[in-house]
Symmetry: C2
């Protein structure tokens, strides 16, 4: 449980003794449930400094609190909030823990919760799907913000589907990858994750079967699971999803396909142009709607990937999800969905009931940036830097892991290396050891339908120097804990992912 943070100080001019002000403050915070049972208090030294009081005054207050049973002193590990048996005399409490478990939405797995928590701390983040802060185009944003500062006359609710000027810019940009569409076929969302969430609650029939690549984007799996669908993983080869290996859906279950054809997350696989056409034909013959996640569309290294499925979709079977999170700024929280008008109308209607639209400010800034003639130059530069970082990351891996620790394929775009570790390495244990040393990576099993021997390393966020430092730490951990000739872990307990 995380440590309590305080920003209160006693009033030294008041007539109430300071130690009493402190006990009252603690009583209120614990009785109100703001400090839950088990929460850890800061060290006495830190507390005294925060409150601006003598250590002795603080101890007087803490002794009182310990005496009434509100806090517990644990030798060697500080003080914790010891429960509400005292506060329950004060007032009836709602048992929140019962509610916290009650809602229909499933919690994140503990590994993902841990990653979400740690991602904000000062650790080496080989886990995150974010561009490096150094790649942030400050000038593009400065220009856009300055222009907006001069022209902004209000910030009210936007058109339900998103600001028209932004949808017009997106239609123009989509035409460059072969998608010819109109603003009325575009819905602006808060990132493409929200688009998946909207599609799940708006369009999925009860008990639908969702076919996804195995492995695939971990958050898509969570969203689909919370929508009470059946998930069915489809293997990939080096051309992309092996759609002919789809198992038939359960009786009376409607089939829906979800694919990341371009730089699949986590594997980096690009579906070939032929496979795209074949997959579309198959989906049309079987009347299967296709959800195309194109989050990494613009993040290619040396060669532009084949056209999106949506560009080839003469039958209107494809719903396309784009995002600015990987190629510009995840903090804008903007994505777009392209689909036929009845689908856009339905999604827009549900969207208006859940959060009433995306930030107008984010939308206006993005519309300015997409209209800026320098945007294309920025994108080319962004790709060039990313290409170099990918090459450098692979050189580092080759140096430390090339000889018997791991194997991988060279990606042609995206942010990730999908790495198979040697069978002797226990990945859950390595994850815990690495976290304790402030190095974060993503275990491969969170992306897949079964255990595997992979990890996902991101080279996009950290500098090459910090990437190398992270790999050094992992290498040391592997050599100390999983020496060559030690017990095998993978071969006994896991089945490999079918790729590579």
């Amino acid at each position: 449980m995380s440590e309590i943070q305080l920003n209160w100080q006693p009033d030294k001019t008041a007539s109430t003794p300071i130690y009493q002000q402190i006990t009252t403050y603690f009583q209120h915070a614990i009785a109100s449930g703001e400090w839950p049972m088990g929460a850890k208090l800061p060290a006495q030294r830190k507390l005294a400094a925060q409150f601006g009081v003598n250590r002795s005054t603080l101890i007087t207050a803490l002794d009182d609190l310990i005496a009434v049973g509100l806090i517990t002193s644990n030798p060697g590990s500080g003080m914790t909030v010891s429960g509400n048996h005292w506060s329950s005399l004060l007032a009836e409490h709602v048992n929140w823990s019962q509610y916290v478990k009650a809602g229909q939405f499933k919690p994140n797995t503990s590994a993902i919760q841990k990653i979400n928590q740690f991602e904000t701390d000062a650790v080496i983040r080989l886990s995150t799907g974010e561009p490096a802060p150094e790649q942030f185009p400050r000038e593009l944003f400065q220009k856009a913000l300055a222009k907006l500062g001069n022209t902004l006359t209000s910030l009210n609710y936007t058109e339900p589907a998103g600001i028209l000027a932004l949808r017009e810019q997106l239609a123009r940009h989509l035409a460059k990858v072969g998608i010819h569409t109109q603003p009325e076929n575009i819905l602006i969302t808060s990132g493409s994750l929200q688009a998946l969430q909207l599609v799940s609650v708006s369009l999925f029939p009860k008990d639908a079967t969702i076919y996804t690549e195995a492995p695939t984007y971990v958050k898509s799996l969570q969203v689909f699971q919370s929508a009470n669908t059946h998930l069915s993983g489809v293997p990939m080869d080096n051309q992309g999803m092996a759609y002919w290996q789809m198992t038939p859906p359960a009786k009376d279950s409607q089939a829906i396909m979800y694919t990341i054809p371009t730089f699949n997350n986590p594997t980096g696989i690009v579906m070939s142009a032929d496979r795209r056409q074949q997959l579309l034909t198959y989906a049309q013959e079987h009347q299967i709607p296709v959800l195309e996640d194109a989050a990494y569309q613009d993040v290619w290294f040396e060669q532009q990937p084949p056209q999106p499925l949506k560009a080839l979709d003469t039958a209107g079977n494809v719903i396309y999800f784009g995002s600015i999170s990987k190629s510009l700024a995840p903090g804008l929280r903007l994505g777009w969905t392209v689909a036929s008008k009845p689908v856009i109308d339905r999604l827009t209607d549900v969207r208006m009931q859940t959060d009433y639209g995306a930030s107008s400010l984010s939308q206006l800034v993005l519309a300015e940036i997409l209209a800026d003639p320098d945007y294309d130059n920025y994108q080319a530069h962004f790709r060039a830097v990313l290409t170099k970082k990918a090459a450098a990351a692979q050189a580092i891996l080759q140096k430390y892991w090339g000889n018997g620790i791991a194997t991988w394929q060279a990606p042609t775009g995206g942010f990730y290396l999908w790495i198979r570790l040697a069978d002797r390495i226990n990945i859950p244990k390595l994850f815990d050891l690495a976290t304790a040393q402030n190095v974060l990576f993503n275990p491969g099993n969170i992306y897949d339908f079964k255990p595997n021997q992979y990890i996902r390393l991101s080279f996009s966020y950290e500098s090459t120097a910090r990437f190398e430092r992270g790999i050094q730490i992992l290498t040391d951990l592997i050599q100390q804990n999983f020496p060559v000739g030690g017990a095998k872990h993978a071969s006994e307990r896991t089945t490999d992912s079918s790729v590579f």
Copy 2:
């Protein structure tokens, strides 16, 4: 069905005849499902102008399209897309209309869909819950955007619960209304609507009974309904929710209370200080969690309302929802939830699975504005202007409706007048007539559990002159269609809301 919008033009330098380019363009748009069956085409004159072609060239193309059955010419009412029997020869189609009806989330009612649609057009909007564009504090935003332009070095994902600097500012502002809390007890959301949505899917036990004021915020009802809860309306008197009139929940159904104690939407009723204390005591005795929606907290006219329930909540039973939409800028899409740590943790975890956080840009701008010493002056000015507009709106109503058309109570804050129309006035019919004349108001039945004879008029958005113009149009419609001595509508068919 809305009219199709086009921004394509034929390529006059191409070798393909222009009329053929037009037919191909139409075929593609219809075959792909982008133009659905029944969609209306613009008039021929408008089409020719848009395409930049002679009327005769256009007619050649349209005749071809009519001949193959892709479009239909309807004498007197233009052309419509006539279906996909032709396009279905081209490719297999997903039957999207089947999916559009399939998802678990309920659609908006047709009246609300109509309002959402019209709100973006050039009509007199007596319906909208938005501040007037004229009240937008341009200088505060200019300063914040300029500062951000100089200091912004990246826009990545934020801390899961929202940017710490913003949560610190909010804790400081909440203290002013008596809520003493810490940043770790605050979650930033995309408006308070998203907070309701998150609470519904994260905390509500299956088949929970939600008690709300009757009438109440329409979007809350939709969110709760889509979470498969039982909704139970509780009457109000002029002190607020008459909690003792709550009917017992169904067997095995957990009770949860949702209230807008300050300037209830739509009635404007303020719960008295005594009632707040009594309601909290009742909820504590019965272990009922209380959801407090404080969206209009800061929008008072001459006297600050009583402290929020959360300020009196020594037992931690209250989840508090705040928002910047009513007092600053709805387009920022920002709100905040204050609750005990386990609740905030659970909501944050689900939030990370649905849209991965609110716009960082919006959050940074709001943190700047809340820290600006001019913010309090802006708020005081905002309230003074709103107070005047409320008085002017009531003077206008007194002039046109005071004598036998309507009755209402003077609000002491908020954006709305909750108006009881005379029994002879058929409100659904008046709504349709008014919409046809570009005047939009909200019928009272969308807020309530049963039909009523009320409408909600907003005085916040339109200027006083346009408000008067709207009332003039409504008055004319009432006098023409529902003359004094005409048939009564309300007394036969509806039961009145219990208030006023």
